[in-house]
């Protein structure tokens, strides 16, 4: 067995050395539905926050999913929490990578100035690269 320099004399006492050898799978969460009509968006956001405790997470907003980030939502007449502002807290959860496509914004007459956070706007080629660069894709 090859010597492992630096740990030769270290007793194995369950430090971070063991399981860290193979890093956790990276997760790409895809938000693809408009908010409030269904619970997918809210559940997806909860899942992102939970996942961020364990591994690297990023979020891709596609299609009507981009509406989740629309600023100035008023849910006071709905039985739904205005969780759009909660996306602004994702940085505190260590989730810094948010993406959407230029085409999805344009088709809906939106710019990043209309959103509660500023996602990275990518084209379809970059979208392809993004989706292949994560170990797991979770669609909500």
């Amino acid at each position: 067995m090859p010597a492992n320099p630096g740990t030769q004399n270290a007793p194995s006492i369950g430090t971070t050395a063991g399981p860290a050898e193979r890093p956790n799978k990276t997760l790409l969460f895809v938000q693809s539905q408009a908010p409030h009509g269904t619970l997918y968006g809210q559940e997806g956001l909860d899942a992102i926050m939970m996942g961020s405790a364990f591994t690297e997470c990023a979020v891709l907003f596609v299609g009507d999913g981009i509406y989740q980030l629309l600023a100035n939502q008023d849910t006071s007449l709905l039985a739904s929490r205005n969780y759009s502002v909660s996306y602004r807290a994702l940085a505190d959860y260590g989730v810094e990578k948010l993406y959407c496509t230029e085409a999805d914004l344009q088709q809906r007459g939106l710019t990043v100035a209309d959103l509660v956070v500023t996602p990275c706007v990518i084209d379809s080629r970059a979208l392809q690269a993004l989706m292949t660069s994560f170990d797991v894709i979770l669609d909500f």
Binding site: M49, A53, Y83, A89, D92
Partner: protein, 105 residues
């Protein structure tokens, strides 16, 4: 002594608007806790966080925002556990009149 508060079975206020500093004192007393200045600064910080982001922060995030806003010596889980016991995020949310943090039993 004490005021009557409309709480759920876990002791969380049912209505956010029922919260007052007096309610906080009572909610803390229900947990055998007497609030000091150090408790209050965390309580108000968490209330501001909720008003901004609509989130009751879980412990990991609580540690971070306390560190960012009150200084690194306070942004440590040991400090928060000394103030609020073994599940600081849950107890802070309760005393601050906020919903229970998600993913927290």
């Amino acid at each position: 002594m004490g005021m009557t508060l409309n709480c759920d079975k876990e002791g969380f206020l049912r209505q956010l608007q029922d919260w007052t500093p007096e309610a906080a004192t009572q909610l803390a007393a229900n947990e055998d806790l007497q609030l000091t200045q150090e408790h209050w600064e965390v309580i108000y910080l968490v209330r501001r966080y909720y008003q901004t982001f609509n989130i009751s922060p879980p412990t990991r995030v609580l540690v971070k925002i306390v560190g960012d806003q009150l200084g690194p010596t306070k942004g440590r889980s040991i400090h928060l556990m000394q103030l609020f016991g073994g599940k600081p995020a849950k107890l802070v949310a309760k005393i601050a009149g906020l919903p229970k943090p998600t993913n927290c039993d």
